[in-house]
């Protein structure tokens, strides 16, 4: 431990020395950013290792590194540098999605499809319903949005309710990899999180259409959007299957430099999917599911990804931390904190209802719901959609959602790790994740 603290201090000393030569900045932004990238990788890893001693997840250390050294706090990693890391982050996200798909074994899911379906339905319905009602009551009581009419207040409530359902597949898969968890609870956590992501996107699109109807009248209603979304999802799945076939062929026939190929594959998917309006994450999840369940290359794919997974997670979560807008948190923290606590309650309730409906038994029921707490990327994407639609209240809602995500990002992984350990599935994976 002393080694790691010493190394962290040494890096900070080196950074201090570098900053004594301010003209270094003149030698070009790309150079400054590569130094920031190295800094993020080393300090993120060291912070994760230091937090591990306190039984906290490594990724909390990565997130805290991003927050502390990012543009909103100490500014060692500048806003420009963070923006430059976003393409790397996009690749990391697709790689994580590929892992998520690769970890989903249909044979196991087939055995527990009933409980999976029940949890998805109950979480979607109850969190949306209770989240919307409680948000409406909160904004009626607490004057955060003072000059808003009742329909607008309902609009805000429905949006917050829908976003409350969303979870974070990236955090889930990162924690599963870190704790080397395997078993029913782990599969359910992953399966529900991935499925809910798709459900939320569909629900949010419908919701946006409804809000548009309320805001601008029936003549502006674009039914085609729903069709477009359906086509996008179907094509994404189709593209994912094709990509899966390609991947499995490469991993079984060619086998040269699989890690290079996977990185190139993820880069192409992340860039190509957005160019043709497909969902890159769905493409990768489908490809991962295909490789694991329809070919013999699943193990090799996961092992290849895991060889480089640590560095991917460190960069991804440090950047996520650096992107967290602490300004929003300071503005909205009381309301955000209440909403986060309420969301926890709704997740616990809906998960319990789901398990009951399926008449299944989960060994660690009291903590099982904690696996669904982490929340991140998709939620932010949804708020951006809201802004793009031009609703005048989108900006304060974004601030609120960002504040909620910041709290969930910090506490979600800690509670999820606790739940994984309590489930007895941590350390059960046969492969080494490190």
């Amino acid at each position: 431990m002393r080694d790691r603290i010493g190394a962290l201090l040494l890096i900070l000393v080196l950074v201090w020395i570098v900053r004594q030569y301010p003209y270094g900045e003149q030698s070009g932004a790309p150079n400054a950013h590569v130094y920031s990238l190295g800094f993020v990788i080393l300090t993120g890893y060291l912070a994760g290792e230091i937090l591990l001693v306190a039984q906290l997840p490594r990724l909390t250390g990565y997130l805290l590194t991003g927050i502390l050294f990012g543009p909103h706090c100490l500014g060692i990693v500048t806003q420009d540098a963070v923006q430059d890391f976003l393409p790397i982050n996009q690749i990391a996200l697709t790689l994580i999605a590929l892992t998520a798909g690769g970890e989903l074994r249909l044979s196991l899911l087939r055995r527990c499809w009933k409980i999976l379906l029940c949890i998805i339905c109950s979480q979607t319905f109850l969190i949306f319903l209770l989240g919307s009602i409680s948000t409406y009551l909160l904004i009626c009581t607490i004057p955060f949005f003072p000059e808003t009419a009742a329909p607008v207040q309902w609009g805000i409530a429905l949006v917050v309710g829908a976003i409350a359902i969303s979870q974070s597949p990236a955090t889930t898969i990162a924690l599963i990899t870190e704790t080397r968890a395997a078993g029913l609870c782990t599969e359910l956590a992953l399966g529900v999180t991935v499925a809910i992501d798709i459900v939320v996107i569909v629900l949010f699109t419908i919701l946006l259409m409804g809000l548009g109807l309320m805001d601008r009248g029936a003549e502006t209603l674009e039914w085609g959007k729903l069709g477009d979304l359906g086509v996008e999802l179907l094509f994404s799945i189709g593209a994912g299957i094709l990509a899966g076939i390609l991947l499995s062929l490469y991993l079984t026939r060619v086998r040269t430099n699989p890690i290079l190929f996977l990185l190139a594959f993820c880069y192409l998917v992340s860039v190509g999917a957005s160019a043709v309006h497909l969902d890159a994450l769905l493409v990768c999840v489908t490809a991962g599911i295909w490789v694991t369940n329809a070919s013999h290359a699943g193990e090799e794919m996961i092992e290849t990804i895991e060889e480089g997974s640590l560095i991917v997670y460190v960069i991804f979560f440090c950047v996520a931390g650096a992107l967290l807008d602490l300004g929003s948190l300071s503005q909205m923290w009381p309301l955000a904190l209440i909403l986060v606590v309420l969301r926890m309650g709704f997740i616990a309730l809906s998960t319990w209802v789901g398990v009951r409906l399926a008449r299944a038994s989960i060994p660690s029921m009291p903590t099982f719901w904690m696996m669904y707490l982490p929340q991140a990327g998709v939620s932010l994407g949804l708020v951006v959609l809201l802004e793009r639609e031009g609703f005048p209240w989108a900006a304060p809602v974004k601030t609120l959602v960002v504040a909620c995500i910041a709290i969930n990002q910090i506490f979600g992984p800690i509670l999820m790790k606790y739940a994984l350990i309590r489930s007895g599935e941590a350390g059960q994976h046969k492969r080494s994740s490190r």
Binding site: D3, R4, G6, A7, L10, I11, V13, L14, I17, V18, Y21, Y23, G24, E25, Q26, S27, G28, P30, N31, A32, H33, V34, Y35, S36, L37, G38, F39, I41, L42, Y45, T256, N257, I259, L260, A264, Y267, L268, V271, G272, A275, E306, E307, G308, S309, L310, I311, V314, S432, S433, R434
Partner: protein, 460 residues
């Protein structure tokens, strides 16, 4: 969209090239070596770069220019790791002295000849030297010749590895050659690093000679990546600061890496720490205009000489993940390739010629001085050191990062072309000398000592 297209093309050509390499048994030795050394990626880079398809545009190259410092950092660390004193003492002193003599004589030959020859070549290449640049002329040209001189001392063992692989055995001569190819690069990198430090001015201002050359040569001669910074006036640190900071950074990061890697680590963590340290040191070095190659060389030397350091583990890890770094580095350097002008052609031609002569003579002198009387000394030993590869390229690229401009472009253009030309006949020369050695009953160092195996053999 260009970057995407570029990426797809890189992928396609890279994989095609690697598949072709599988059939290298049907190719000539020179062509086999080109694939073995990864030179095809230089050509891929050239095809995609601004000089050809322009798929990798100048903007894309500029944005992704840190790739270069990473490649340089990796190469520097790799060379530094070979300087483990516990391994060094296993090298016969004669080889060490031979390496020193070889480097000294080859450097002197290339440096002096080019210094005398370039002023004669310029008017022939249509660039008569104006009066106003005369006073400063030799000082500036001496810098270029100094760099090329030291680059000339560096050889690669890749061709030898390829020959040993196909022969399935390794003679004492081939072990001696292998050790010589490992002894010389750190001397050259260290000398050039010191020169960078001592030659560092408080202001990075370009001389009249450089301005004149930049105006006289085709505009594209300037390295595309660094095009816009051809005449910056930027305060930089003093020479002493430069050296102190370089050494401090290398030692500090070496210590840090040692403390983090000395206990048992997983593959994932090792990959992260090595990559993170190289990215960080490369980034800091480039940011402060230090030499990423030199900083990482110091880091590698520090790391390998700390107590309880287990070099094998880190070195084998670096070898495992060397290829992606190397491939991307070669593609980027290929894209930066300045166009071939009569000036570059002329300098390259004489650089190769003088280098070969210098290597032959220095190896002969070194053999006479340091090998026991009566030993069979292959008078052609110097010719076995003709092939050059990643380290020579890295030294030229390092110069383009520290002092971008027309001189760096000239050096890069000459070195790339020289590497390609030498790769065509260098391995054949090596093969001929080794075959002649096999026919002889005695080998140069056999009676005295058995030459230990090289610690590692990488692409660089």
């Amino acid at each position: 969209m260009n970057v995407v297209l570029g990426f797809i093309l890189i992928l396609f050509l890279g994989f095609t090239a690697s598949r072709l390499a599988l059939f290298r048994g049907r190719l000539s030795l020179g062509m086999q070596y080109i694939f073995f050394a990864g030179t095809e990626f230089l050509l891929v880079g050239l095809a995609l770069g601004p000089q050809a398809a322009n798929v990798l545009t100048q903007d894309a190259l500029k944005q992704l220019s840190p790739v270069l410092s990473l490649g340089l950092g990796w190469i520097g660390l790799f060379i530094g790791l070979q300087f483990d004193r516990r391994e060094l003492i296993r090298i016969p002193p004669a080889i060490g002295w031979m390496g020193g003599i070889l480097s000294g004589i080859t450097f002197t030959a290339v440096f002096l000849f080019l210094l005398g020859f370039i002023p004669l070549l310029l008017p022939i290449a249509g660039l008569p030297i104006p009066e106003e640049v005369q006073p400063d002329f030799y000082r500036v040209i001496a810098g270029l010749c100094f760099l090329l001189g030291w680059i000339g001392t560096v050889s690669t063992s890749s061709a030898l590895t390829l020959l040993n692989q196909s022969a399935g055995k390794r003679s004492d001569l081939s072990r001696a050659i292998l050790l010589l190819t490992e002894v010389c690069p750190p001397i050259a990198i260290g000398a050039v690093g010191l020169w960078h430090g001592l030659n560092h001015h408080p202001l990075l201002r370009y001389s009249e000679v450089e301005r004149w050359l930049a105006d006289s040569l085709p505009p594209s001669i300037r390295t595309p990546v660094l095009n816009e910074s051809i005449f910056p006036i930027m305060p930089v640190m003093s020479g002493v600061e430069w050296i102190v900071l370089t050494v401090f950074l290398g030692i500090a990061l070496g210590w840090m890496l040692h403390f983090l890697t000395h206990h048992r680590l997983g593959e994932n963590e090792m990959l992260l720490l090595l990559t993170g340290a190289v990215i960080f040191s490369g980034g800091v070095a480039t940011l402060l205009r230090l030499s990423p190659l030199f900083v990482n060389l110091v880091m590698g030397i520090t790391l390998s000489n700390l107590p309880s350091f287990k070099r094998g583990r880190i070195a084998s890890w670096m070898l495992q993940i060397e290829k992606p770094f190397f491939v991307v580095f070669m593609i980027w350097v290929g894209a930066m390739w300045p166009p071939i002008t009569p000036l570059i052609l002329g300098i390259t031609f004489f650089y190769i010629l003088v280098r070969m002569a210098g290597l032959w003579f220095s190896a002969w002198v070194a053999g006479r001085c340091f090998l026991p009387v009566g030993s069979w000394i292959p008078s052609r030993l110097g010719f076995t050191l003709v092939p050059q590869g990643g380290v020579a390229l890295a030294m030229a690229v390092d110069f383009t990062l520290i002092r971008p401009g027309v001189m760096a472009d000239l050096a890069l253009g000459v070195v790339i072309l020289a590497i390609l030309i030498q790769q065509l006949f260098g391995p054949t020369l090596l093969g001929v000398v080794l075959r002649m050695d096999n026919r002889d009953t005695s080998s140069p160092l056999k009676p005295e000592k058995t030459i230990p195996s090289s610690p590692q053999e990488g692409t660089t």
